[in-house]
Symmetry: C2
């Protein structure tokens, strides 16, 4: 994954969904129409200068003195992040994690629709998961190609992760969120991000003092 695209560092892109989430909460709270980089920064523990600098890559969204119009900035961020559309998404792996993801309410209204779920275990194929029927992974390629699906969530064991990734790539996937605790090889133009709770927890234990 390149660190910079169109002159915009990926780390800046990575903060936009966080801004979007906080602005969406503000809009839901409904008690104000505008906000400032200062207020947003306080909520997020990010400096207001950082927020202004990040947003300045994409245009001029606020006015000196009046700040940002919350709903307008939400619309703009959704547009920048290609969330004007809803992305059809497949889950591969219907174990504990896949099951939790199939039931996760957080995709709705945030740009993703879980469309299909696959596994290779005969004992779960055909099961209903929150309205989706678990399909055999052998059907994955055909379904993805027919439906033009570009987004996948990988929730299979580390040992199977690279093989399934190769299958997904052949079927046209462009973006993979992987829960398998292993680094995946993908060709240029395919994006992978990793969701490994232990990596996140280990980043914090650095700062802790031992139990005894």
């Amino acid at each position: 994954m390149p660190a910079v695209e169109n002159g915009i560092p990926d780390i800046v892109i990575g903060r936009l969904p966080i801004y979007l989430r906080a602005l969406t909460h503000m809009a839901q709270e409904g008690d104000k129409v505008t906000t400032s980089s200062h207020e947003l920064g306080q909520r997020l523990g990010i400096s207001s200068a950082q927020i202004r600098k990040d947003l300045s890559h994409f245009g001029e969204f606020g006015k000196q003195g009046t700040g940002y119009h919350i709903k307008y900035l939400i619309e703009q961020l959704r547009h920048i992040l290609n969330l004007d559309q809803e992305w059809s998404t497949v889950i591969v792996g219907a174990g504990y994690i896949g099951h939790a993801l199939a039931h996760y309410q957080g995709f709705q209204h945030r740009g993703f629709r879980i469309q299909r779920i696959f596994d290779n275990d005969p004992s779960v194929i055909g099961q209903d998961m929150n309205g989706l029927t678990v399909q055999h992974v052998d059907e994955l390629s055909e379904v993805m190609e027919n439906e033009g699906i570009q987004v996948a969530i990988l929730a299979v064991p580390a040992s199977a992760a690279q093989d399934i990734t190769d299958l997904l790539v052949d079927a046209g996937v462009k973006s993979i969120l992987s829960y398998a605790p292993i680094n995946l090889n993908v060709p240029q133009g395919v994006w992978v991000r990793y969701n490994d709770p232990v990596v996140q927890m280990q980043r914090m234990t650095f700062y802790l003092k031992s139990e005894e």
Copy 2:
């Protein structure tokens, strides 16, 4: 969360668990005793210069020409990240995500032991989850204080997340991994990281072309 502690940027700390994971895979593969920043970098899509620079904050781990001794570097990284010990961890929230976490095999041997799981829903209290009995959240404070638990995973709805966080902080928590899609307020000295799959996915859609 400060961006820098002891002169070491948090973003550097954030890469150490990734190095540790990749080195552990190398050790498990068992076909070599040493590796190089170049080889590690290739596996991770990180430049070898970055890896050398990150590690140089903590000492001299490799030798020019012979590279890093894999098992030694694993030990050192575990020591730096305070993973010599196993951290007792509580899960709060026994819904779909908490359930998946209770069954997750990835904590073992990586520094964490899921010790307790709590919920406030009478219909799940008393249930067995992978050998743990779901306890009422009213018992949380006493258990955490008695057992000196500093690490928690928060898997409750956004609407309950701040209240439970306040409870955890009062009970002595120092590190929280939160699955609730909302920013939490914690005092200085308490660390929070957020696991929000949608934020990760939105970071990738920026780079995608629309379905049609």
